[in-house]
Subunit: 154 residues, 2 copies
DNA sequence: TCAACTCGGACAACTTTTGTCCGGAACCTC
DNA sequence: GAGGTTCCGGACAAAAGTTGTCCGAGTTGA
Protein backbone atom coordinates (compact mmCIF):
# COMPACT_ATOMS: atom_id res chain seq x y z
CA UNK A 1 0.00 0.00 0.00
CA UNK A 2 1.09 3.48 -0.79
CA UNK A 3 2.67 5.43 2.03
CA UNK A 4 0.71 8.48 0.92
CA UNK A 5 -2.43 6.89 2.34
CA UNK A 6 -1.12 7.44 5.84
CA UNK A 7 -0.45 11.11 5.12
CA UNK A 8 -3.86 11.60 3.58
CA UNK A 9 -5.58 10.07 6.61
CA UNK A 10 -3.67 12.26 9.01
CA UNK A 11 -4.60 15.27 6.91
CA UNK A 12 -8.28 14.29 7.00
CA UNK A 13 -8.17 14.12 10.78
CA UNK A 14 -6.53 17.53 10.88
CA UNK A 15 -9.13 18.95 8.50
CA UNK A 16 -11.90 17.92 10.89
CA UNK A 17 -10.78 20.58 13.34
CA UNK A 18 -9.57 23.21 10.87
CA UNK A 19 -11.69 26.34 10.96
CA UNK A 20 -10.54 27.62 7.57
CA UNK A 21 -9.11 26.04 4.40
CA UNK A 22 -5.75 24.41 5.10
CA UNK A 23 -3.18 24.64 2.32
CA UNK A 24 -1.13 21.67 1.20
CA UNK A 25 2.08 23.42 2.15
CA UNK A 26 0.88 24.06 5.68
CA UNK A 27 -0.35 20.52 6.18
CA UNK A 28 2.96 19.22 4.88
CA UNK A 29 4.90 21.44 7.24
CA UNK A 30 2.81 20.32 10.19
CA UNK A 31 3.42 16.64 9.45
CA UNK A 32 7.00 17.20 8.28
CA UNK A 33 6.52 15.48 4.93
CA UNK A 34 7.21 16.36 1.32
CA UNK A 35 4.94 19.21 0.24
CA UNK A 36 5.02 18.31 -3.45
CA UNK A 37 4.02 14.73 -2.89
CA UNK A 38 1.39 15.48 -0.28
CA UNK A 39 -0.17 17.89 -2.75
CA UNK A 40 -0.70 14.99 -5.11
CA UNK A 41 -2.52 12.98 -2.45
CA UNK A 42 -4.74 15.93 -1.58
CA UNK A 43 -5.54 16.35 -5.25
CA UNK A 44 -6.68 12.74 -5.26
CA UNK A 45 -8.97 13.48 -2.33
CA UNK A 46 -10.42 16.42 -4.22
CA UNK A 47 -10.89 14.37 -7.39
CA UNK A 48 -12.71 11.71 -5.38
CA UNK A 49 -15.05 14.33 -3.98
CA UNK A 50 -13.91 13.91 -0.37
CA UNK A 51 -12.32 17.34 -0.08
CA UNK A 52 -13.02 20.61 -1.79
CA UNK A 53 -10.12 22.73 -3.03
CA UNK A 54 -10.54 26.49 -2.70
CA UNK A 55 -8.12 28.41 -4.85
CA UNK A 56 -6.46 31.71 -4.46
CA UNK A 57 -5.13 33.57 -1.49
CA UNK A 58 -5.94 31.94 1.88
CA UNK A 59 -7.13 28.92 -0.05
CA UNK A 60 -6.63 25.28 0.73
CA UNK A 61 -8.64 22.15 1.34
CA UNK A 62 -11.91 21.61 3.19
CA UNK A 63 -13.78 18.37 3.76
CA UNK A 64 -16.91 18.24 1.64
CA UNK A 65 -19.09 16.41 4.14
CA UNK A 66 -19.37 15.41 7.76
CA UNK A 67 -16.31 13.40 8.93
CA UNK A 68 -18.68 10.72 10.19
CA UNK A 69 -19.74 10.12 6.58
CA UNK A 70 -16.20 9.69 5.24
CA UNK A 71 -14.82 6.21 5.75
CA UNK A 72 -11.21 5.18 5.86
CA UNK A 73 -11.92 3.05 2.81
CA UNK A 74 -12.99 6.17 0.92
CA UNK A 75 -9.60 7.75 1.54
CA UNK A 76 -7.66 4.58 0.76
CA UNK A 77 -9.48 4.09 -2.52
CA UNK A 78 -9.12 7.75 -3.44
CA UNK A 79 -5.35 7.70 -2.99
CA UNK A 80 -4.43 4.12 -3.85
CA UNK A 81 -7.12 3.30 -6.38
CA UNK A 82 -10.12 1.04 -6.03
CA UNK A 83 -8.92 -2.01 -7.88
CA UNK A 84 -8.34 -5.16 -5.82
CA UNK A 85 -4.79 -6.25 -5.06
CA UNK A 86 -5.28 -9.65 -6.69
CA UNK A 87 -6.01 -10.01 -10.39
CA UNK A 88 -6.92 -13.40 -11.83
CA UNK A 89 -5.11 -14.19 -15.07
CA UNK A 90 -7.20 -17.28 -15.80
CA UNK A 91 -4.36 -19.72 -15.54
CA UNK A 92 -6.80 -22.60 -15.84
CA UNK A 93 -7.50 -21.65 -19.44
CA UNK A 94 -3.86 -21.88 -20.48
CA UNK A 95 -1.47 -24.68 -21.28
CA UNK A 96 -1.84 -28.16 -22.76
CA UNK A 97 -4.72 -29.18 -20.50
CA UNK A 98 -6.53 -25.87 -20.50
CA UNK A 99 -10.12 -25.86 -19.33
CA UNK A 100 -12.75 -25.03 -21.91
CA UNK A 101 -13.98 -21.41 -21.76
CA UNK A 102 -17.60 -22.52 -21.30
CA UNK A 103 -16.54 -24.21 -18.08
CA UNK A 104 -14.99 -21.03 -16.74
CA UNK A 105 -18.05 -18.85 -16.47
CA UNK A 106 -17.76 -18.60 -12.69
CA UNK A 107 -14.50 -17.40 -11.11
CA UNK A 108 -12.08 -20.10 -10.08
CA UNK A 109 -11.74 -21.08 -6.43
CA UNK A 110 -8.50 -19.15 -5.97
CA UNK A 111 -10.07 -16.04 -7.42
CA UNK A 112 -13.09 -16.46 -5.16
CA UNK A 113 -10.99 -16.84 -2.03
CA UNK A 114 -8.97 -13.75 -2.86
CA UNK A 115 -12.06 -11.72 -3.60
CA UNK A 116 -13.63 -12.73 -0.31
CA UNK A 117 -10.52 -11.74 1.62
CA UNK A 118 -10.37 -8.44 -0.22
CA UNK A 119 -13.99 -7.77 0.65
CA UNK A 120 -13.32 -8.54 4.32
CA UNK A 121 -10.49 -6.02 4.26
CA UNK A 122 -12.70 -3.40 2.65
CA UNK A 123 -15.52 -4.04 5.08
CA UNK A 124 -13.18 -3.45 8.00
CA UNK A 125 -12.00 -0.15 6.55
CA UNK A 126 -15.54 0.82 5.64
CA UNK A 127 -16.55 0.46 9.28
CA UNK A 128 -14.24 3.19 10.47
CA UNK A 129 -14.92 6.85 9.74
CA UNK A 130 -12.70 9.88 9.93
CA UNK A 131 -14.80 11.03 12.88
CA UNK A 132 -14.00 7.74 14.62
CA UNK A 133 -10.31 8.37 14.11
CA UNK A 134 -10.55 11.87 15.53
CA UNK A 135 -12.56 10.69 18.52
CA UNK A 136 -10.00 8.00 19.18
CA UNK A 137 -7.27 10.62 19.32
CA UNK A 138 -9.08 12.64 21.99
CA UNK A 139 -9.93 9.48 23.91
CA UNK A 140 -6.30 8.44 24.05
CA UNK A 141 -4.41 11.69 24.36
CA UNK A 142 -7.04 14.15 25.54
CA UNK A 143 -8.60 17.13 23.75
CA UNK A 144 -5.29 19.02 23.74
CA UNK A 145 -3.92 17.25 20.69
CA UNK A 146 -6.65 18.24 18.25
CA UNK A 147 -6.76 21.67 19.87
CA UNK A 148 -3.10 22.26 19.12
CA UNK A 149 -3.66 21.20 15.52
CA UNK A 150 -6.58 23.61 15.16
CA UNK A 151 -4.56 26.45 16.68
CA UNK A 152 -1.52 25.78 14.57
CA UNK A 153 -3.54 25.70 11.36
CA UNK A 154 -4.88 29.10 12.36
CA UNK B 1 0.25 -8.44 -4.71
CA UNK B 2 2.68 -10.42 -6.77
CA UNK B 3 1.29 -12.37 -9.69
CA UNK B 4 3.48 -15.28 -8.63
CA UNK B 5 1.06 -15.93 -5.77
CA UNK B 6 -1.54 -17.07 -8.25
CA UNK B 7 0.88 -19.47 -9.91
CA UNK B 8 2.00 -20.87 -6.58
CA UNK B 9 -1.57 -21.54 -5.52
CA UNK B 10 -2.39 -23.30 -8.77
CA UNK B 11 0.73 -25.40 -8.32
CA UNK B 12 -0.30 -26.33 -4.79
CA UNK B 13 -3.66 -27.53 -6.06
CA UNK B 14 -1.90 -29.56 -8.75
CA UNK B 15 0.49 -31.04 -6.20
CA UNK B 16 -2.50 -32.29 -4.26
CA UNK B 17 -3.17 -34.90 -6.91
CA UNK B 18 0.38 -35.53 -8.08
CA UNK B 19 1.49 -39.08 -7.36
CA UNK B 20 5.21 -38.35 -7.70
CA UNK B 21 7.42 -35.27 -7.34
CA UNK B 22 6.49 -32.65 -9.95
CA UNK B 23 9.37 -30.62 -11.35
CA UNK B 24 9.20 -26.86 -11.77
CA UNK B 25 9.65 -27.23 -15.51
CA UNK B 26 6.70 -29.58 -15.84
CA UNK B 27 4.43 -27.43 -13.68
CA UNK B 28 5.43 -24.39 -15.71
CA UNK B 29 4.67 -26.16 -18.97
CA UNK B 30 1.28 -27.25 -17.69
CA UNK B 31 0.30 -23.73 -16.69
CA UNK B 32 2.07 -22.12 -19.65
CA UNK B 33 4.18 -19.75 -17.57
CA UNK B 34 7.87 -18.94 -17.35
CA UNK B 35 9.73 -21.95 -15.95
CA UNK B 36 12.61 -19.95 -14.48
CA UNK B 37 10.29 -17.60 -12.67
CA UNK B 38 7.93 -20.25 -11.39
CA UNK B 39 10.96 -22.04 -9.98
CA UNK B 40 11.54 -19.03 -7.78
CA UNK B 41 8.05 -19.20 -6.34
CA UNK B 42 8.39 -22.91 -5.67
CA UNK B 43 11.67 -22.24 -3.91
CA UNK B 44 9.81 -19.85 -1.66
CA UNK B 45 7.32 -22.58 -0.84
CA UNK B 46 10.18 -24.93 0.01
CA UNK B 47 11.89 -22.31 2.16
CA UNK B 48 8.65 -21.77 4.06
CA UNK B 49 8.37 -25.47 4.73
CA UNK B 50 5.21 -25.94 2.71
CA UNK B 51 6.79 -28.08 0.00
CA UNK B 52 9.77 -30.39 -0.01
CA UNK B 53 12.21 -30.25 -2.90
CA UNK B 54 13.48 -33.58 -4.18
CA UNK B 55 16.65 -33.25 -6.18
CA UNK B 56 18.20 -35.34 -8.88
CA UNK B 57 16.69 -37.39 -11.63
CA UNK B 58 12.88 -37.62 -11.45
CA UNK B 59 12.95 -35.03 -8.68
CA UNK B 60 10.59 -32.16 -8.07
CA UNK B 61 8.32 -30.77 -5.39
CA UNK B 62 6.02 -32.53 -2.94
CA UNK B 63 3.74 -31.00 -0.36
CA UNK B 64 5.09 -31.56 3.12
CA UNK B 65 1.75 -32.04 4.84
CA UNK B 66 -1.91 -32.70 4.25
CA UNK B 67 -3.47 -30.08 1.92
CA UNK B 68 -6.15 -29.50 4.53
CA UNK B 69 -3.43 -28.18 6.85
CA UNK B 70 -1.99 -25.70 4.33
CA UNK B 71 -3.91 -22.45 4.22
CA UNK B 72 -4.02 -19.96 1.39
CA UNK B 73 -2.47 -17.47 3.79
CA UNK B 74 0.52 -19.78 4.21
CA UNK B 75 1.16 -19.69 0.48
CA UNK B 76 0.59 -15.95 0.17
CA UNK B 77 2.99 -15.21 3.01
CA UNK B 78 5.57 -17.63 1.67
CA UNK B 79 5.65 -16.01 -1.77
CA UNK B 80 4.82 -12.40 -1.03
CA UNK B 81 6.27 -12.04 2.46
CA UNK B 82 4.50 -11.83 5.79
CA UNK B 83 4.75 -8.13 6.50
CA UNK B 84 1.50 -6.16 6.53
CA UNK B 85 0.72 -3.89 3.62
CA UNK B 86 0.51 -0.82 5.85
CA UNK B 87 3.46 0.45 7.83
CA UNK B 88 3.01 3.24 10.36
CA UNK B 89 5.71 5.90 10.15
CA UNK B 90 4.64 7.63 13.34
CA UNK B 91 3.65 10.85 11.67
CA UNK B 92 2.22 12.14 14.95
CA UNK B 93 5.73 12.33 16.41
CA UNK B 94 7.04 14.57 13.66
CA UNK B 95 6.75 18.23 12.83
CA UNK B 96 6.38 21.39 14.90
CA UNK B 97 3.53 20.07 17.06
CA UNK B 98 4.83 16.54 17.45
CA UNK B 99 3.29 14.45 20.20
CA UNK B 100 5.55 13.47 23.05
CA UNK B 101 6.97 9.94 22.78
CA UNK B 102 5.56 8.95 26.18
CA UNK B 103 2.10 9.64 24.80
CA UNK B 104 2.65 7.34 21.84
CA UNK B 105 3.00 4.03 23.63
CA UNK B 106 -0.12 2.62 22.02
CA UNK B 107 -0.49 2.62 18.22
CA UNK B 108 -2.32 5.58 16.75
CA UNK B 109 -5.91 5.23 15.59
CA UNK B 110 -4.98 5.03 11.93
CA UNK B 111 -2.47 2.33 12.63
CA UNK B 112 -5.05 0.41 14.66
CA UNK B 113 -7.67 0.59 11.92
CA UNK B 114 -5.21 -0.63 9.30
CA UNK B 115 -4.01 -3.46 11.49
CA UNK B 116 -7.57 -4.58 12.13
CA UNK B 117 -8.34 -4.59 8.41
CA UNK B 118 -5.15 -6.49 7.68
CA UNK B 119 -6.08 -9.07 10.29
CA UNK B 120 -9.52 -9.47 8.75
CA UNK B 121 -7.89 -10.10 5.39
CA UNK B 122 -5.53 -12.65 6.88
CA UNK B 123 -8.32 -14.37 8.76
CA UNK B 124 -10.26 -14.81 5.53
CA UNK B 125 -7.26 -16.34 3.78
CA UNK B 126 -6.48 -18.46 6.83
CA UNK B 127 -9.96 -19.95 6.65
CA UNK B 128 -9.39 -21.48 3.23
CA UNK B 129 -7.09 -24.47 2.77
CA UNK B 130 -5.53 -25.94 -0.33
CA UNK B 131 -7.83 -28.91 0.12
CA UNK B 132 -10.79 -26.53 0.04
CA UNK B 133 -9.56 -25.12 -3.25
CA UNK B 134 -9.16 -28.57 -4.76
CA UNK B 135 -12.60 -29.66 -3.55
CA UNK B 136 -14.10 -26.54 -5.05
CA UNK B 137 -12.60 -27.42 -8.42
CA UNK B 138 -14.22 -30.85 -8.43
CA UNK B 139 -17.50 -29.41 -7.21
CA UNK B 140 -17.62 -26.92 -10.02
CA UNK B 141 -16.08 -28.75 -12.96
CA UNK B 142 -16.34 -32.40 -11.94
CA UNK B 143 -13.58 -34.87 -11.03
CA UNK B 144 -12.23 -34.86 -14.58
CA UNK B 145 -10.21 -31.67 -14.15
CA UNK B 146 -7.99 -32.87 -11.33
CA UNK B 147 -7.81 -36.27 -12.96
CA UNK B 148 -6.39 -34.78 -16.13
CA UNK B 149 -3.81 -32.88 -14.08
CA UNK B 150 -2.76 -36.04 -12.26
CA UNK B 151 -2.47 -37.96 -15.52
CA UNK B 152 -0.53 -35.23 -17.26
CA UNK B 153 1.95 -34.94 -14.42
CA UNK B 154 2.46 -38.69 -14.77
C1' DT C 1 31.54 -44.02 -13.28
C1' DC C 2 28.89 -41.33 -15.94
C1' DA C 3 25.44 -38.61 -17.70
C1' DA C 4 21.20 -36.50 -17.21
C1' DC C 5 18.23 -34.06 -14.50
C1' DT C 6 17.01 -31.32 -10.59
C1' DC C 7 17.16 -27.40 -7.35
C1' DG C 8 19.38 -23.12 -5.72
C1' DG C 9 20.86 -18.58 -5.79
C1' DA C 10 23.01 -14.78 -8.28
C1' DC C 11 22.26 -11.78 -12.08
C1' DA C 12 19.83 -8.37 -15.58
C1' DA C 13 15.51 -6.05 -17.85
C1' DC C 14 11.34 -4.32 -17.21
C1' DT C 15 7.22 -2.17 -15.18
C1' DT C 16 5.12 0.12 -11.59
C1' DT C 17 5.29 3.09 -8.02
C1' DT C 18 7.10 7.00 -5.67
C1' DG C 19 8.66 11.54 -5.54
C1' DT C 20 9.92 16.18 -7.68
C1' DC C 21 9.40 20.13 -10.37
C1' DC C 22 7.42 23.80 -13.17
C1' DG C 23 4.07 26.60 -15.90
C1' DG C 24 -0.81 28.05 -16.04
C1' DA C 25 -5.20 29.51 -14.01
C1' DA C 26 -7.95 31.18 -10.23
C1' DC C 27 -8.57 33.89 -6.23
C1' DC C 28 -7.94 37.23 -2.42
C1' DT C 29 -5.90 41.47 -0.62
C1' DC C 30 -4.48 45.83 -1.27
C1' DG D 1 -6.48 46.56 -11.42
C1' DA D 2 -1.70 44.86 -9.72
C1' DG D 3 0.65 41.65 -7.04
C1' DG D 4 1.10 37.84 -4.34
C1' DT D 5 -0.65 33.31 -2.96
C1' DT D 6 -2.73 29.09 -3.86
C1' DC D 7 -4.43 25.03 -6.43
C1' DC D 8 -4.24 22.15 -10.71
C1' DG D 9 -2.29 19.29 -14.20
C1' DG D 10 1.24 17.30 -16.51
C1' DA D 11 6.07 16.41 -17.52
C1' DC D 12 10.02 14.58 -15.55
C1' DA D 13 13.49 11.91 -12.54
C1' DA D 14 14.39 8.44 -8.99
C1' DA D 15 13.49 4.32 -6.46
C1' DA D 16 11.44 0.07 -5.66
C1' DG D 17 9.52 -4.14 -6.84
C1' DT D 18 8.42 -7.22 -10.40
C1' DT D 19 9.29 -10.38 -13.99
C1' DG D 20 12.47 -13.09 -16.33
C1' DT D 21 17.11 -15.47 -17.35
C1' DC D 22 21.25 -17.75 -16.51
C1' DC D 23 24.71 -20.95 -14.76
C1' DG D 24 26.71 -23.71 -10.94
C1' DA D 25 26.10 -27.38 -7.18
C1' DG D 26 24.10 -31.44 -5.88
C1' DT D 27 21.54 -35.73 -6.54
C1' DT D 28 19.68 -39.56 -8.67
C1' DG D 29 19.39 -43.51 -11.66
C1' DA D 30 21.50 -46.41 -15.01
Amino acid sequence: MSGGVEWALHCCVALTVARSPASAARLAEMHDVSASYLAKQLQSLARAGLAHAVQGHAGGYVLTRDPALITVLDVVEAVDGARPAFTCTEVRQRGPIAAAPERCLSPCSIHAAMTAADEAWRAALRGVSIADLARDVTDKTGPGTLQRIADWLG
